[in-house]
């Protein structure tokens, strides 16, 4: 059995930097999770938003120690290994260290691959699509997708309107959805590509002409959420802003009944409900 060699001077530096990093990480990570974490977007209004918030917390909690590692290492080296005096002296001819390189490769690979595995799990199983648009043939559906409330979201320059196929295809200018029930957003566009972004709900789905882009959400709390356009769509892109509401089932029933009554005279001027629309003129208007 051999005794460990006496630590060289630069080993000592390495240990000092490592301890500083450990201490700062031990302080920073709980702060991120418990102090910053609850403020990270998009909040806990829906199951999907909740998973996104958790993702943002975990990613921040992983990234900050990495930032600390690099900053402490560089900062320490700047102080300890800065050249003193004006004479040009060379450092030791150190061309690399295979063990350090392999260790680094393994560490980064483990972090990266576990992130991908965890992201895939969230995407498919825990948050059925994570609130993102999945195109016309969604692969990650909630278990009771067939009984979900269908809401067609129609992007157009420069506003959002909504049609409810389960309620005679009534079109509304305002969005209300019931709490505690799966909602299936069927997102499409009449003109150019928009992106339906219901911020607090954690929903984002591009509205593409000729495509039915489906996203699921399961609201857990009542309240209002902001709706924006997240894809540049021309002149008044920034004005595609609305406030939607998550309400109780009873409030939703009375709201949609009121909408059906109020919109009944307009319904006959609308095209029949359809997954996609191609309004005239189909060519550029100039």
């Amino acid at each position: 059995m051999t005794t460990a060699p006496a630590p060289q001077s630069d080993d000592r530096h390495l240990w000092t930097a490592a301890v500083a990093w450990l201490v700062l990480t031990a302080i920073a990570v709980p702060l991120i999770v418990f102090v910053l974490g609850p403020h990270l977007p998009p909040g806990r209004m829906s199951a999907e938003a909740s998973d996104q918030t958790s993702a943002n917390i975990v990613l921040t909690a992983i990234c900050v120690p990495i930032v600390l590692l690099i900053v402490i290492f560089f900062g320490y080296a700047f102080v300890v290994f800065r050249a003193r005096g004006t004479a040009i002296e060379d450092g030791p001819p150190d061309f690399g260290d295979a063990r350090a390189q392999v260790l680094w490769l393994i560490l980064t690979s483990v972090i990266v691959i576990s992130l991908a595995v965890w992201g895939t799990y969230t995407l498919f199983w825990s948050a059925h699509g994570a609130g993102g648009g999945q195109g016309p043939n969604p692969v990650a559906k909630p278990s009771d997708a067939s009984s979900a409330l269908q809401v067609q979201v129609i992007g157009q320059q420069w506003n959002w309107t909504y049609r409810f196929p389960g309620y005679g295809g009534v079109e509304t200018a305002h969005l209300e959805i019931p709490v505690g029930r799966d909602v299936e957003f069927l997102v499409t566009s009449l003109d150019v590509t928009h992106s339906f972004w219901a911020y607090e709900l954690g929903v984002k789905a591009d509205a593409v002409p000729g495509t039915e882009n489906i996203a699921y959400v399961h609201p857990r709390q009542t309240g209002s959420f902001s709706i924006r356009c997240a894809e540049l769509c021309g002149l008044w892109h920034g004005h595609m802003f609305q406030t939607g509401e998550v309400v109780t089932s009873a409030q939703f029933a009375s709201w949609i009944a009121g909408q059906q009554h109020a919109e009944a005279p307009n319904l006959k001027y609308l095209p029949g409900y359809s997954g996609v629309y191609f309004p005239e003129p189909t060519r550029r208007a100039g």
């Binding site: 992201g119 954690g202 924006r228």
Partner: protein, 624 residues
């Protein structure tokens, strides 16, 4: 036969001084070409119904741009050589280089002249792009449209984005790769000098064509030019398409030329294992440029046909698909991001050993990292389309590839850490910019992990988070690397020393205010502010005002650099030493200014570029 003499013998006739072909004749012939082209387009289009519907003649505009391009290149003399050879006459392209400023304003096949042309040519357009950013931030001082009408604001956004992407693609490869790759590999010239001249002269033309969009109501699409919106846009969109095609052609040719140079022109003894790391960065970037830009050209060509010839490649109602454009564009667009990053990796890893006085730690790992990034960057493009509604099954694959790319990128950080550890670090200005590169790129890279994770991307996609992320990687990475290279190599390129005090002020202002500007924008994205808006939630005004004010100071720091450049180059003119940094790089062993034919005799490479501190290390090359 002496190669320099050989070059002189094939030189031909040449008109004296101002009568010759130069920038002025190019501009005049370009304008004439434009009007001839639009006139032909007008004749062709008479009686066509779409003119009535759109009130604009895209065919005429595109033919005008074609005429302008032909006139511009003809005015510079690009057709003299092929026409002479076709007619069986001796080549008329002059090969001997004259001294004086006039050579910078005409067609030159000297890679050193082209490097300087690139430096100032691209710099002018970078300045214009930066001014656009200042105008954008002026608008965002208030939550509603105040400074500019909405259409003008979108044009500013599009001009800023497109100009910056186009010009930063040439920001390092243009000036520094063209100037220094031949010097670093011990060559007298690039493999294809006339192609090299063409790649440069297409660049200012592309910039001018893009700027001409303001005469046609601008364009509303930002730099991505997404299809249904692009099809709807007014004639400014044609300028976007043509200028991006020109720059795509320029990038493709530049990549092919650099690759050919690195493969065929290396001096004896310069094995692949001795190649300077910057040259590796250039080589891998060239691979990306050669493979990705043809896809961009195809995408833009179809967009051009949709606009001018009533095809429906991207129009859903006509049987096409907007997704086709998105896929083709990002198949170019994501490698493009690494076209911007890889030369920066090369620069900083080239500079760190010089000022840490240590060999580059883990040379092979750095090369492997660059190759890993090159390979993976072609397999990640759909992460731009996570919520677009295509291929939900493929999302885990693109999530994985995107996250994998941080492994080879991480190699570069390990190289830097190993290189500075136990070194004798000197905080010169190039070193400061290189070190700042690592800090900025770290933030940029880690914020990219949020965007690669699909659940997190659903929150951040299309928001200011993305905008902050790519400004950290492109401005914090590439532009900082550009300034590192500028302060490092400009003494060799110009023969004069830059003022160090001004340079340090420039660095600190730029570094501090870059971070103060862009870090808060991550929060703006998290707080639900979409990109490219001129209207935002009033609650975000304080944040945006802070960012705007910091951005103005950031812009001011660039003026300090320009002042330094003018002061040092025009007024002070303190001659630079041959090797002020005591670098082992081959380019520093040459006299300042570098002789016209670089090496009287091709050197033999006898040692490693980074053998700092190696006892009895041989000189890097035998120079005769």
């Amino acid at each position: 036969m002496d190669s320099a003499a050989e070059l002189r013998t094939i030189s031909g006739r040449r008109l004296p001084g101002p009568l010759g072909l130069n920038l002025l004749t190019a501009a005049v012939l370009g304008l004439i070409g434009f009007f001839v082209g639009t006139w032909i387009g007008g004749r062709l289009a008479i009686g066509h119904h779409y003119l009535v519907a759109t009130d604009q003649n895209d065919v005429g505009i595109f033919l005008g741009f074609l005429g302008a391009t032909i006139g511009w290149l003809g005015g510079l003399g690009f057709f003299n050589y092929p026409v002479s050879r076709l007619l069986g006459r001796p080549a008329s392209l002059p090969h001997e280089e004259t001294a004086g400023a006039s050579r910078y304003f005409r067609l030159s096949t000297d890679h050193k002249v082209i490097g300087i042309q690139y430096f100032f040519g691209v710099g002018v357009f970078f300045f214009i792009g930066g001014m656009n950013a200042m105008l954008i931030r002026t608008e965002l001082l208030t939550p509603n449209e105040k400074a500019w009408p909405a259409g003008q604001y979108l044009t500013l956004v599009g001009l800023h984005g497109t100009m910056m992407i186009m010009m930063t693609s040439a920001f390092i490869l243009g000036p520094f790769a063209n100037y220094f790759v031949p010097l670093m590999i011990g060559a007298r010239r690039m493999a294809l000098p006339r192609v090299e001249a063409l790649t440069f002269w297409l660049t200012p033309l592309a910039g001018l064509v893009l700027l001409s969009a303001i005469f046609w109501n601008g364009f509303p699409t930002g730099w991505t030019g997404y299809a249904p919106l692009a099809d709807q846009a007014r004639a400014g969109m044609d300028a976007y398409i043509w200028s991006f095609m020109l720059i795509g052609l320029s990038m493709c040719l530049n990549g092919a030329n650099l690759l050919a140079t690195i493969v065929t022109q290396r001096a004896p003894g310069l094995t692949w294992g001795r190649l300077p790391i910057f040259v590796w960065g250039v080589a891998t970037t060239s691979v990306l440029m050669v493979l990705s830009t043809p896809v961009l050209l195809a995408a833009l060509l179809m967009g051009m046909l949709d606009r001018a010839a009533n095809t429906s490649f991207y129009i859903a109602s006509g049987g096409g698909s907007p997704y086709l454009y998105e896929n083709l564009f990002w198949f170019f667009g994501h490698p493009e991001v690494y076209i911007l990053a890889l030369p920066g990796f090369g620069i900083v890893l080239e500079i760190l050993p010089v000022f840490a006085r240590k060999p580059l730690w883990g040379y092979r790992l750095a090369v492997a990292g660059m190759f890993g990034v090159t390979l993976l960057s072609f397999f990640v493009w759909q992460h731009h389309l996570f919520v677009s509604g295509i291929n939900a099954t493929l999302r885990p694959f693109y999530m994985l590839t995107t996250e994998l790319i941080s492994i080879p990128t991480g190699f570069i950080f390990l190289n830097a850490m190993g290189t500075i550890w136990r070194g004798k670090i000197r905080f010169t200005v190039p070193m400061l910019f290189s070190l700042a590169f690592f800090f900025n790129f770290l933030i940029g890279g880690l914020s990219g992990v949020f965007l690669s994770d699909v659940p997190s991307d659903v929150t951040t996609h299309g928001s200011y988070f993305v905008m902050a992320h790519f400004h950290y990687t492109i401005m914090g990475g590439l532009v900082f690397a550009f300034f590192a290279a500028t302060y490092y190599w400009l003494p060799k390129m110009t023969g004069v020393v830059l003022n160090e005090k001004l340079a340090k002020i420039h660095f600190w202002l730029m570094f501090v205010f870059f971070n103060l500007t862009f870090f808060p924008l991550f929060a703006a994205g998290f707080l639900d502010m979409p990109r490219r808006v001129s209207t935002y939630a009033p609650s975000l005004q304080t944040l945006n005002d802070w960012v705007s004010v910091c951005a103005f100071v950031l812009g001011f720091s660039m003026l300090i650099f320009i002042a330094n450049l003018i002061w040092s180059l025009v007024f002070a003119r303190i001659p630079a030493e041959t090797n002020p940094w005591h670098s082992r790089g081959l380019e520093w062993q040459l006299p300042t200014p570098v002789p016209v034919h670089n090496f009287d005799e091709i050197p033999e490479i006898t040692g490693g570029t980074y053998d700092y501190g190696v006892p009895g290390a041989p000189a890097v090359a035998t120079l005769r």
